[in-house]
Symmetry: C3
Subunit: 179 residues, 3 copies
């Protein structure tokens, strides 16, 4: 079992590494290959993510559901395990003979953008049309159509208001694709 997991993880990393070379040349081809790899390793992809950075880390493949048009930036962590529960048990004088963690699923809706260095804590559920700002620490349920930021992360605006506000600005310097 353990050996099987180690081999599986090592294979996943080798394949990821090979696919990662593509990102500098053709980010669409990269994402096509990466989506396939994630599916083969048991990921629950509902639709097609737009982009998932190679440095984004998922601590569990089976308990994470990713929606359509998802963007996951660099160094984002999806945490489904929480081993701090062992520390909590010891504090009330229970002495588990092995570490005990809490396992909770993460579910991400459609059209979600997750900014770099963010952490999604176990049990996070994100609705549709959501922007998670860079560096956010997210827990709990994030409603549809929201822009979220901070540590702890809170809803800071409605994504539709944000879209309209930016469009009205005169001095926008827009850029297409990953120019």
């Amino acid at each position: 079992m353990n050996i099987h997991r180690i081999i599986n993880k090592t294979l996943f990393r080798l394949q990821k590494g090979a696919i990662g070379l593509l990102v500098y040349f053709d980010s669409r081809l990269y994402m096509k290959c990466y989506n396939n790899l994630l599916k083969r390793h048991g990921f629950n992809l509902k639709g097609t993510p737009r982009f998932i950075a190679l440095s984004a880390r998922f601590d569990d493949f089976k308990r994470i559901t990713l929606g359509d048009r998802l963007v996951v930036s660099m160094n984002v962590h999806f945490l489904t395990h929480d081993y701090s529960f062992t520390t909590a048990l010891i504090s009330i004088n229970e002495k588990p003979d092995t570490d005990i963690g809490i396992l909770r699923e993460i579910i991400i809706g459609d059209n979600v953008f997750i900014g770099m260095n963010s952490i999604l804590l176990p049990g996070t559920i994100i609705g549709n049309n959501v922007i998670i700002g860079a560096g956010s620490i997210v827990r709990g349920t994030i409603p549809d159509n929201s822009v979220v930021a901070g540590n702890p992360a809170i809803v800071i605006s409605d994504i539709r208001d944000y879209a309209r506000k930016v469009k009205q600005r005169k001095d926008n310097n827009l850029v297409k694709d990953k120019e």
Copy 2:
């Protein structure tokens, strides 16, 4: 002196790298070896840490005290130096001819869990039975029996209340060891 430090650091990293391979196979053996390495390099270990991730970084070995049953997650930084003081001195028209930093110790109590990507600033003192949530920026003194999170990190609950609350939940999906 400088050469001595460079050799010492390089040796430490090589040994860390070798030990790091163990973590995939046997995390207890890994931790036993890593504890020994930390002690040999001057670390003040009071008791036996449960787990310290290889990517956790300590910017000083002699000014950090670690308690029993400590867990340190990935990418945690223990900072004992603060060189921003030079910037502060320049702002009041003092021109030090070399960078001047503030050095302050870090002391961690027993049964403490430090979540991933957290930073402990110089002078941080953490009591016994404490959970530091992922991504926390911690400074100052954290009392016994607390759960701490945020940037800036604040006490968000009593760890014993948290333990009891989780135990009462009916839908807990618990997992043993680093399954």
Copy 3:
């Protein structure tokens, strides 16, 4: 064009790697070489940075202006692109056929210290004599003479008050240079 950028980036990384070896031996020589490299690659340096960590990342070389005596700690990110705008457009039923991002400049004044793991969001303008605490997520305009921290980052004190307060302490343990 694309090939040109890839070659340019690869060359930059190779040169950075070579320069990076210097940092263990002579941090002044390292910084002299790194400043030259940044200038050659189109960076707008006003004056001479004191230190820029090799792991600090700039997602654009032409839209970032760095002031004199700047210190940039490990893993700091300067973001000038924001592709979450595409997610916002989709939320109001606009379907751009390619990703659309917002581009905004970053301007850093003189005598600024940026603590580790901080992120500067597109459009950030930092005045003179500013300390950005470790782990800060910074956006908008930061006034002269301020100490800033948190996620979201806010002004927590005047840098001159901070300098005087630290100097008055009796128990300071100061250290010169990167001892």
